[in-house]
């Protein structure tokens, strides 16, 4: 026997199974390209080492991890699909006298061939594409484009090791699979799963409960702070729910439809319902994967796109004025000095301030329960029901809003930035205040901290403020100083603004060490790097997941095709026209393949609330922009989905008609 016997069989096998193996090899190559590029970006010297770059690098390293983990799951899952389909072939080899160790040898050569092709092609294509990737990334985060070409050896080695590892594990799994089963079983394997599945009420119930719980968490999340934990819990619940619903809920529904005789005994329904019922067992997992991946793609793209598109909004939210000065524990004489220093600096740099807003305030954190607020010292951890209260004097209010409102003791004007108080009374650690009027806007449209918790602004007279101050000092009557805010816009170039911010920081610290000067321009770059980095990652992972969806759909179609072929032959003999068959196939395939998309969109609708809260935590509050971005993402994704469906459906028809 020549040395080339096994390699030859291996090549032959791959060619024979080209319908499934070529897409698999392509998917391997794409995955490797993606991984290499993420690895390349997170190691690229061009990104530099400044503080912004470091946070970008963190995002990219995170991305590398996600792509790596995804690759492992994705390639393993698809390998399992392939080997399952081929068990029959191996059974035949076995019966024809090929020993299992010979089969293992054939498998070894097959895997080696696929591995070498994929890794070499993947890394080469990855290297070629890497320059484009870094250009796109730099464009997005507004970094200056650098010239030159970089091939980090570390990334090449990482990629080669990770993917050889994946292929070797897959090979071991495959050999194990063949080793464990006997030839008769191997021959039967592909036909397994024809029995009508039992109605698994428990799984259906678990699915319904998980989905309901996930949706409930999403819908009832009121505070941005609760969104983080809640989001991940909800995601896990919804994933479990989706699997259960596809596995069992689908069967419950189909059986119900079958019970309705009038509906069931219509030609289209008759054939589709019965075949879907029998097929769900094998396909449920694939369909759930498609559904979950689709949801992830849409969530990732819509959030990162809207954040990036709304970056200027976010900046304005976070920094309501170009330059904002916050000073705590400040005396009236210091306030005068501060005002003067700001005037002086702006005139030196020839940057006249406008839209000036300055006022006194008292800021403290409470725990909110309805209209009851309990004052609480908080260091790092913000509990989800934390609320910020800001007291503003009636004098400042009248001055800035140009009104002549008057308040008596115990009366306040309320402006809620986020959150809600019902009724006309609020209770701060026992102190009751009557809400005289609610304001629809306040001159202070920004946030004192990033807007994580609910924020309420209370306009009150001095007597009332003193009482709150007493409370804050636990009755020690040691009246605390006000804090002071001074914010303004300037008509000046970016570098002047940054210069001004730095100069003010320098000058004002001398007056009061507890001063904080924030310049929107100085922070802008950081925002672009953060949001741009996330945007890039979103698109990148979105593409990767779309590829996974495509392959999952393709394999599902093939599976369906082989299953249906025999059945349609029989129906043809019994008197069904080819045209009718085609129509039924179309109906059925449409239902099966658009179901995941429909459910993904439903998930999304329920997730909407928690996503807006999640975004609010990142200072993104432009809900309309988010809605638009989500709708556009869904539309674009649906179009891609439909195109992929049309292309893969072709393969299905080919198989059925063969």
């Amino acid at each position: 026997m020549s040395n080339f016997f096994y390699p030859k069989i291996a090549v032959n096998n791959i060619q024979k199974n080209n319908k499934t193996y070529i897409p698999y090899i392509l998917a391997c190559i794409c995955t490797i390209i993606m991984f290499y590029n993420m690895s390349f970006l997170s190691a690229a010297k061009n990104i530099g080492n400044l503080s912004d770059s470091r946070s970008l690098r963190q995002i990219l390293i995170f991305g590398e991890g996600v792509v790596g983990i995804f690759s492992i799951i994705f390639l393993f899952y698809n390998n399992r699909f392939l080997i399952k389909r081929r068990k029959k072939e191996f059974g035949l080899f076995n019966i024809l006298g090929m020993e299992k160790k010979h089969i293992a040898r054939v498998m070894f050569f097959e895997m080696t061939i696929i591995m070498i092709i994929s890794i070499i092609a993947g890394i080469l294509a990855g290297i070629l594409l890497s320059k484009l990737m870094i250009l796109i990334l730099f464009k997005i985060i507004t970094f200056k484009v650098v010239f030159g070409f970089e091939i980090p050896i570390k990334s090449v080695i990482h990629t080669a090791i990770l993917f050889s590892g994946i292929f070797i594990v897959n090979l071991i799994y495959n050999i194990f699979q063949v080793h464990l089963s006997n030839p008769i079983e191997l021959l039967k394997e592909t036909n397994a799963g024809e029995r009508e599945p039992k109605t698994k009420w428990i799984i259906a119930a678990i699915g319904a409960v998980c989905l309901a719980a996930g949706y409930y968490i999403s819908l009832t999340t009121k505070y941005p702070l609760a969104a983080v934990g809640g989001f991940f819990t909800a995601v896990i619940l919804v994933i479990i729910g989706t699997y259960c619903i596809f596995i069992s809920g689908s069967i419950v529904v189909l059986k119900m439809l079958r019970k309705n005789k009038k509906y069931y005994y219509k030609l289209n329904h008759f054939v589709s319902i019965s075949s879907m019922l029998h097929r769900m067992k094998q396909h449920a997992a694939g369909l759930s994967n498609i559904c979950i991946l689709s949801t992830m793609v849409i969530v990732m793209l819509s959030t990162t796109i809207s954040m990036y598109a709304g970056i200027e909004d976010v900046l304005r939210n976070r920094y309501p004025r170009n330059i904002s000065v916050y000073v705590s524990k400040v005396s009236e004489s210091q306030i005068k000095k501060i005002n003067n220093a700001i005037e002086k600096q702006t005139s030196i740099l020839n940057a006249a301030p406008k839209n000036i807003i300055n006022y006194h305030y008292i800021y403290f954190i409470t725990i909110q329960k309805g209209e009851r607020f309990t004052i609480k010292e908080i260091d790092n951890y913000f509990p989800p029901d934390a609320a910020e209260l800001v007291l503003v004097t009636i004098d400042d209010y009248n001055r800035i809003a140009n009104e002549s409102e008057s308040l008596s003791k115990g009366e306040v004007l309320l402006y809620s930035l986020n959150g809600n108080i019902e009724g006309d009374v609020i209770n701060i650690s026992g102190l009751k205040l009557n809400i005289k009027r609610r304001l629809s806007s306040l001159y202070k449209e920004g946030r004192l901290t990033s807007i994580m918790a609910n924020s309420y602004f209370l306009v009150a007279d001095m007597d009332t403020i003193k009482e709150v101050q007493n409370l804050l000092n636990s009755g020690r009557n040691n009246v605390e100083h006000f804090s002071y805010y001074y914010g303004f816009d300037v008509n000046a170039k970016r570098d002047i603004q940054i210069k001004l911010t730095n100069a003010l920081k320098n000058d004002l610290t001398k007056i009061n060490p507890k001063v904080n000067v924030e310049g929107a321009e100085r922070e802008r770059e950081g925002f672009y790097v953060l949001f741009g980095g996330l945007f890039f990652l979103g698109i990148f992972l979105g593409l990767l997941f779309i590829m996974a969806v495509v392959l999952a759909m393709y394999y599902n179609q093939i599976l369906e095709g082989y299953d249906d072929k025999e059945r349609y032959n029989i129906m043809k003999k019994i008197g069904m026209s080819c045209e009718k068959i085609r129509q039924i196939i179309k109906n059925q395939v449409l239902t099966v393949f658009f179901l995941p998309l429909v459910i993904a969109v439903i998930h999304l609708m329920f997730a909407f609330n928690i996503l807006t809260k999640f975004l609010a935590m990142l200072n993104f509050t432009n809900v309309n922009l988010f809605i638009i971005c989500t709708i556009i993402t869904i539309c674009v994704f649906s179009v891609i989905y439909t195109i992929v469906y049309a292309l893969t459906a072709k393969t299905y028809y080919q198989i059925v008609r063969e």
Binding site: K262, L267, F270, S275, G575
Partner: protein, 255 residues
């Protein structure tokens, strides 16, 4: 009145490789009267399935014609063929051709659903047929849960439920044990006695001996035929087996 007329059928298969041709039927002519029960016998590869497929409009002949009730089925347009097949013909196949995803009842309903009948009408027809075929108890079962004989009964019920002009059966006992075969043949006799025309292809002498007429096909031609008339099954059996011996030993045609 003849229900089926087959005229000078010829079928040549061209194999895909090297342009080899196989002549499956060279010149077949016969006719079947309404209410007849005809068996066609022949060795494996003699063209029986080919003949049946052409009569069923599943395949086109190279030349010749097939008339069902004086209407040529060769000339039926492609888009009407399925409806024609469903309305006029009932099939019983050797390997049953039941759909695993349907219960026995739904398998039987399939042709009626195709024809767009209402559930009530289907149910009414089913009750009568299921009782006659003795499958009333297994209607809710699935094909993989029942025996070969039961599967074949199901297939017959499916063929009968459309009240076809002609039942075509291709080796219906081929995959059955002798007891089930016996039952099936009895069933065919019964439904034939009720007026159902049957054309059955078989290579079992026992099966053929129940038919009212047996035709022998050899080298793509009808070689010989025997009418049962008033003969007993045993006599018929003997006669068929004599004829087969004669065919194999290459004797002259008689009659």
């Amino acid at each position: 009145m003849s229900i089926l007329e087959v005229k000078n059928l010829k079928k040549v298969y061209t194999t895909r490789f090297e342009g080899n041709t196989v002549q499956a039927l060279s010149n077949v002519s016969f006719s079947i009267e309404k209410g007849e029960y005809v068996a066609i016998m022949g060795e494996s590869g003699s063209g029986k399935t080919t003949l049946l497929n052409i009569i069923a409009a599943l395949d086109k002949p190279t030349s010749g014609d097939v008339l069902l009730n004086d209407k040529s089925i060769i000339s039926i347009k492609e888009k009407d063929i399925s409806a024609f097949r469903r309305d006029n013909l009932g099939f019983v196949f050797q390997d049953f051709n039941l759909l695993d995803t349907f219960s026995v009842q739904d398998n039987i309903f399939l042709p009626l659903v195709l024809a767009g009948k209402t559930y009530d009408e289907m149910d009414e027809r089913l009750k009568v047929i299921a009782k006659k075929l003795g499958i009333s108890d297994i209607l809710i079962k699935y094909p993989y849960e029942i025996s070969g004989g039961q599967k074949q009964r199901t297939a017959i019920a499916r063929a009968l439920i459309t009240k076809p002009q002609l039942i075509l059966a291709d080796e219906p006992t081929g995959a059955l044990d002798s007891r089930s075969s016996e039952g099936l043949l009895k069933l065919f006799e019964e439904i034939n006695n009720e007026g159902q025309t049957i054309l059955m292809v078989t290579h079992s002498i026992k099966a053929a001996s129940k038919a009212k007429r047996v035709m022998f096909i050899k080298d793509g031609e009808i070689f010989h035929q025997i009418y049962k008339a008033s003969m007993t099954d045993e006599k018929m059996y003997q006669k068929i087996s004599d004829t087969l011996t004669m065919i194999v030993t290459g004797g002259e045609r008689n009659e």
